[in-house]
């Protein structure tokens, strides 16, 4: 008997980290907008992500649909629990999404509004996603598989800190992406931004690491039980942070981005290890939340065939737009 639920847990976990890494850097580019040296740099920054953002964001839609397909309970508890936060997240994504088209079509006087929409939209979306992470650590009040908490349970000092953490993290991904994809003034500026963002991110990490065991008994027991092997995850994250720092100092172009992705992956695995096997903490595990086996099986057949194809042509588009984005590069 194949354990579909476990396979689906792996697929959803993969989808989520794909989203975080891929939309992370283009959201990060938006977050960095106000600090860019000049308007021309902003054009370059936007052009560096314009061919990819739509595909990146599709991983979020897959996360939503995939949860409904494989773990409907997560979908039907988290979305009501985060109701107003979801609205804020979507509003942010809407504004930054249309900014790609509108900013280049606006007159010179109005361009600034769409730069602001791109930046604020990206920032709000990142903050909202970080708050989701924090609320997940906090857990959700449920009864009979239905959310029974209030409208603002997700908004606490702790979730605000995790929100800021993801905001800074995405900005770091954005800055290292720009190191890789640009040159000249924009790249120099990105080189200056990256270490500051890294320092900020490590600061937030430190706060969260001390705070989380205080917020949640389960997490504390998990980390201070005899499962010492999980301490390799934060160690890996610290190693990646060191790599980013060293690569930026050496002015490597590709390593900072890759190492930042590593930092995210280790942190993400650490988060999963903290709560495993709960998907709707504190009451429901993966198995409680799973959809019918025949539904999981039906979807699995397609996904196993299609996802490799998706990854292949996605990789191909990144290859088509490889190399540096230059000032004055044509828009479509």
């Amino acid at each position: 008997m194949i354990d579909f639920t476990m396979i689906w847990a792996a697929i959803i976990a993969f989808g989520v980290i794909m989203y975080v890494l891929m939309d992370g850097f283009d959201l990060g580019v938006g977050i960095l907008y106000p600090f860019a040296p000049d308007e021309e740099s902003r054009d370059v920054m936007m052009n560096s992500v314009a061919p990819f953002w739509d595909g990146n964001e599709t991983w979020l839609v897959l996360g939503g649909a995939g949860l409904l397909g494989a773990f409907p309970l997560v979908y039907s508890v988290l979305l009501p629990a985060l109701y107003l936060g979801v609205f804020v997240l979507l509003a942010g994504l809407i504004f930054r999404g249309v900014a790609f088209e509108f900013r280049f079509k606006a007159s010179r006087e109005r361009k600034g509004y769409w730069s602001a929409a791109f930046c604020i939209g990206s920032g709000v979306a990142a903050l909202a996603q970080g708050i989701v992470v924090g609320s997940y650590i906090q857990g959700y009040q449920t009864e009979n598989m239905v959310y029974t908490g209030g409208a603002f349970d997700w908004l606490t000092p702790f979730t605000l800190v995790t929100g800021v953490g993801l905001l800074v993290g995405y900005a770091l991904l954005g800055s290292t992406w720009l190191i890789m994809k640009t040159e000249g003034a924009v790249q120099d500026w990105a080189y200056r931004m990256a270490p500051r963002l890294l320092a900020g991110l490590l600061g937030v990490f430190l706060i969260i690491s001390f705070w989380t065991p205080l917020v949640d008994e389960f997490v504390r027991d998990r980390w201070f039980s005899n499962l010492f092997v999980i301490w390799l995850l934060p160690a890996g994250a610290m190693g990646c942070a060191y790599l980013v720092m060293r690569a930026v100092r050496r002015r490597d172009e590709g390593v900072p981005f890759v190492a930042t992705m590593g930092l995210f992956i280790f942190t993400y695995l650490g988060l999963l290890a903290s709560k495993w096997p709960y998907v709707v903490p504190p009451d429901y595990t993966l198995y409680d939340a799973a959809s019918a086996p025949e539904s999981q099986a039906f979807l699995l057949v397609g996904v196993l065939f299609v996802i490799p194809v998706v990854l292949a042509y996605t990789a191909w588009t990144y290859w088509v737009f490889r190399g540096k984005v230059r000032v004055g590069d044509g828009y479509h």
């Binding site: 061919p51 309970l73 039907s76 979305l79 019918a292 025949e294 737009f321 479509h332």
Partner: protein, 473 residues
């Protein structure tokens, strides 16, 4: 004051989907048109096709962008406002929507990047391939979402255990009874929408004498499409109606404004349906015609709305009137197709005249028809989310309060007001800016000169707009 979360959530969903629906319906048609233009250019090398392709790709990009952002909102609405419904139907809808994402959305998004930004970076054949993949993606997407929607109208292939739907036959569930009609009706609607937009803009350009060669071609193509598709749509709609009579008789009764099941029902041209009176306050109709249309017998039996108890009746006047709006516009479209044929036979198709002035106004028609048709079919389902199985009040999110729903409704309205007025304005600027005159066109990929101003600057100041005639503002 107490707000009803069910009512506000319904308004919110109707609001969001009405805005969302008009974009895919346009972009499905337009994506195929762009792919066709790319193929014609690839095959003939005629620069007129490249001019058209470049221009309509720009329009496509703006419309697609707005469709994408409103689509993301849609995909989260099920969970935020209708979580009990989501939970109950997840075993079917979850896999279907996931299939839509993995087979369609990724395809569209990845190849859209190449279509929009890759013209100078990939070989022309590859660029054509990207255009075809985007078009294919729009069809695959339409198939899955209409399968999901049709299943909610005509559920099949499932059994209910412990309040959850469990799929017993994927074939029966996916290819449920109303899918073939709904899918065909929607695809043809998309082609008609695309045709009317392109025809309207082309006619307007011809009036202005802008890019005459290319726009003649575009107008001619679209009028052929309208000539054949508008009548075909009427036939498909008729078949869809018969399907509705079989599976959703109450909805059909509301469309006809027919309260009592009766033989020899009249076709009502005008009526004021009233739920309180359980009948029409006033009606004008043609005797027996509804029976003839629906059953092909003068005394065929047509179902009545009051077969359902008042609590399970759809809002009869909304269904009745939106249906008439859709059908009326359909006949108008057939008329436009025939008028175009007459002008063509008289060799007057390209002579600026009243027809060319009318066509730009007709751009609104398919959009109104789509939204009206959408209201007919969705209001006609009330009070059911899954027809006869899950009602609105059973599907609502339990923790949702009226003020939360209202807050997000007002929020979405404010966001959409800004986004869609800006989008409409930029679409207008793209059209006003006109098509690019000299298209740099080399066969070798990468050999194209960079065009620093084509998008980097405002449309009005960009070089391509300059060659237009003086009266553009």
């Amino acid at each position: 004051m107490e707000f009803d979360p069910v009512l506000i959530s319904r308004i919110q969903f109707a609001f969001i989907i009405s805005f969302h629906a008009i974009f895919p319906v346009f972009t499905i048609g337009l994506a195929s048109y762009v792919a066709l233009l790319e193929s014609l250019h690839f095959k003939t090398g005629n620069p007129a096709w490249a001019q058209l392709s470049r221009f309509w790709t720009k329009v496509f990009a703006v419309a697609f962008g707005m469709g994408v952002v409103s689509g993301i909102v849609m995909s989260f609405q099920f969970g935020t406002n209708w979580s009990n419904f989501s939970q109950a139907t997840a075993n079917f809808l979850g896999p279907i929507l996931s299939y839509e994402v993995v087979t369609a959305f990724f395809l569209e998004a990845a190849f859209l990047g190449v279509l929009l930004f890759g013209r100078d970076k990939v070989p022309r054949g590859t660029h054509l391939f990207a255009a075809c993949m985007v078009a294919l993606g729009t069809f695959i997407s339409a198939f899955w979402i209409l399968s999901a929607n049709s299943w909610m109208h005509t559920p099949a292939g499932f059994e209910v255990r412990d309040g959850m739907f469990h799929v017993t036959s994927w074939m029966e569930a996916i290819f449920n009874p109303s899918l073939p009609y709904r899918f065909t009706h929607m695809v043809v609607a998309s082609f008609l929408t695309g045709s009317f937009v392109v025809a309207g803009v082309s006619a307007w350009y011809l009036l202005k004498g802008h890019m005459v060669e290319a726009n003649k071609k575009a107008l001619s193509m679209c009028l052929w499409m309208i000539l054949f598709l508008a009548p075909a749509q009427a036939v498909i709609g008729d078949f869809h109606g018969l399907n509705t009579m079989e599976y959703q008789p109450t909805k059909l009764a509301a469309m006809e404004g027919n309260w009592e099941t009766q033989a020899g029902a009249p076709l009502l041209l005008f009526a004021l349906p009233s739920k309180d009176a359980q009948g029409n306050l006033f009606e004008v109709g043609i005797p027996n015609l509804a029976s003839i249309v629906l059953t092909h017998h003068a005394d065929g039996v047509v179902p009545g709305i009051n077969e359902a108890s008042p609590a399970e009746q759809p809002p009869a006047s909304i269904v009745f009137w939106t249906f008439r709006a859709m059908v009326g516009i359909g006949f108008l479209m057939i008329g436009v197709g025939l008028w175009g044929l007459v002008l063509r036979l008289r060799r007057q198709l390209y002579e600026p005249g009243i027809f060319h002035r009318l066509m730009p106004l007709m751009i609104a028609a398919p959009f109104i028809a789509v939204v009206a048709g959408w209201f007919t079919t969705e209001s006609g389902r009330a009070p059911w989310l899954v027809y006869g199985m899950v009602s609105f009040s059973e599907g609502i999110t339990p923790s949702l309060t009226g003020w939360m729903a209202l807050t997000s409704l007002i929020g979405y309205m404010a966001v959409y007001a800004v986004i869609y007025s800006a989008g409409g304005y930029y679409l207008w600027r793209v059209v006003k800016g006109g098509m690019e005159d000299s298209v740099p066109d080399n066969d070798e990929a990468g050999a194209h000169p960079k065009r620093p101003l084509s998008g980097g600057g405002p449309i009005g100041n960009a070089t391509p707009a300059a060659p237009l005639k003086g009266d553009w503002t």
